[in-house]
Amino acid sequence: MNVQTSLGSPTASAIAFFFVIVALTLAITWWAAKKTRSTREFYAAGRSVSAFQNGLALAGDYMSAASFLGIAGLVSLKGYDGMIYATGWLVGWPALMFLIAEPLRNLGKYTFADVVAFRLRQTPVRIASAVGGILTVLLYTIAQMVGAGNLIKLMFGIPYEGAVVIVGAVMLAYVLFGGMIATTWVQIVKAVLLLIGVSIMTLMVLARFGWSPGELYGAVASQLGQSALEPGGLVTSPIDAISLGLALMLGLLGLPHILMRFYTVPDAKTARKSVLYATGFIGCFYIIIPIVGFGASVLVGREVISAVDAGGNMAAPLLAELLGGTFFLGFIAAVAFATILAVVAGLTLAGASALSHDIYVSVVKHGHASEAEQVRVARISTVVFGILAVLLGMLFKGQNVAFMVGLAFAVACSANFPALLLSIVWKRFTTAGAVASILTGAFLSIFLIVISPTVWVEVLGNETALFPLRNPAIVSMTASFLVATVVSLLGREPEAEAKFEGEKLRTYLGIGAE
């Protein structure tokens, strides 16, 4: 197959857009660095972010390169099944709002572990929450780094290792010097660029079909057959589909880098509004992405898309080149790069805060550390986590890591979410219950994924899987809730029950919230 594309050879416009974006974000970092002196600024941007800004930043944290390039590719190659997948990514946001948004904002300081440890014994709960939190963030980071290395290699022709190091270095600059203020603004810039880029592509596709989606679907049906517009093989077993749906929906409620954003706004009211903005932006994004995917399958063609990348990841860039030439391709490539940088920066800040705030300050120093020391430790943790991210990115080179995002969501909804919810609503919840629930959720979900068809058969090459579901959430999350309940009922913790009164006043009225 002879494919005419300038993908993979760095064009002038791609390089120019790339430098403009990096220069802009570094300028933001330089400006933010002057304002970042205390831990409140480093972890929580001084709690001064507005609802609209935080809505964009939440959307920025959530709309990864995987969802932009991945879903466009999935729709272009698999048709309607890609659209089913897209809807699953949105439905966690309303659940986040209904179940934990206000308590999370009112009870916490910098991390979700603040909420779980609010009235329980600090040391064991902090360590367990950090295990669940860091595990989630690491799995998510590996998926992002490997994706980043491959994408940049495909788009700019830079070798994989070089791409991973560039992502690591630029992202470290943001987080290290500018903390949460810089990270938030990088997310905002990236979210706006991504939304503009995808909207322009959608309009250009629709312009080719007389501004009528119906005509686009007509072209899809005549070129690829009516089956491209019908549900195919993605959802066959209802239990499998529901288990994946649970992981996607409730996993969001346990993603540390998303939860951390709630502490950047002044109060619960602003937090709620920011979730509404975020849901609106992300919803629009997932509604128009399938149009880009269908457009690519008709205009570029499935053979060309899968010839460039078997997974379909280059469908959107190829479509951009066809519609707007190398200039537009350069813009879209740079936007994809900014997307990767921003998501990895958000993850690194979340990982670093778990290491420094939850482990070093709360466990090692028992909460007694000066401001200067806390900020210094936060920066050291950032470097440690950043280097770890780059090394893991290289270690997992060439691996198919698509399952890792699913795994990150499974761990988040099995390990972090049950403990978080129960600590808010259940008076009898104990330290032992929390620790047992987090560890059960974390290790059971990983164990079940290893023996599932995704890893046991497709990665390790065994004949049949020991566990039938591709995503273990329905089993591992239920187990985590059960263990939490049983262990808590086995022993009472009078101190925790006594503190529940003060906690309730803070949860529902916001009295004493930071």
Binding site: Y80, M83, I84, A86, T87, G88, L90, V91, W93, P94, A95, M97, F98, L99, E102, P213, G214, Y217, G218, V220, A221, S222, Q226, L229, E230, P231, L234, V235, T236, S237, P238, A241, I242, G245, M249, K269, R272, K273, V275, L276, T279, G280, G283, Y286, I287, P290, V425, E501, G502, K504, L505, Y508, L509, G510, I511
Partner: protein, 99 residues
């Protein structure tokens, strides 16, 4: 003025906590019905979604979009309720608690 304990025992406080969770649980159930209803429909009745509503457009396409739009609408319902009705009552109670 009320002490923490008196506030927690008061009828008004119990009422807003109860109401908050009633609203949250009802909306969560709507969300579950919406999303898992869609997923189960795909799993159990593919022909229904494959039905044509235009020249080529299938019923599944507007339904997928509707899941996203209605999720947003549910979120908006909660925010409007919480930022108006709930917050007003919270504000009243906050003033009654001894600092």
């Amino acid at each position: 003025m009320k002490t923490t304990h008196e506030m927690l025992e008061s009828e008004q406080f119990r009422r807003i906590v109860r109401r908050k969770w009633t609203v949250s649980v009802i909306l969560t159930l709507c969300l579950f019905a919406l999303y898992y209803g869609y997923i189960l429909l795909i799993a159990l009745d593919k022909e229904f979604l494959a039905r044509k509503i235009g020249e080529a457009t299938t019923l599944g396409i507007p339904l997928g979009v509707a899941v996203i739009v209605l999720s947003w609408v549910l979120t908006a319902v909660y925010v409007v309720w919480a930022n108006n009705s709930y917050d007003a009552e919270v504000e009243k109670l906050r003033e009654q608690v001894e600092k």
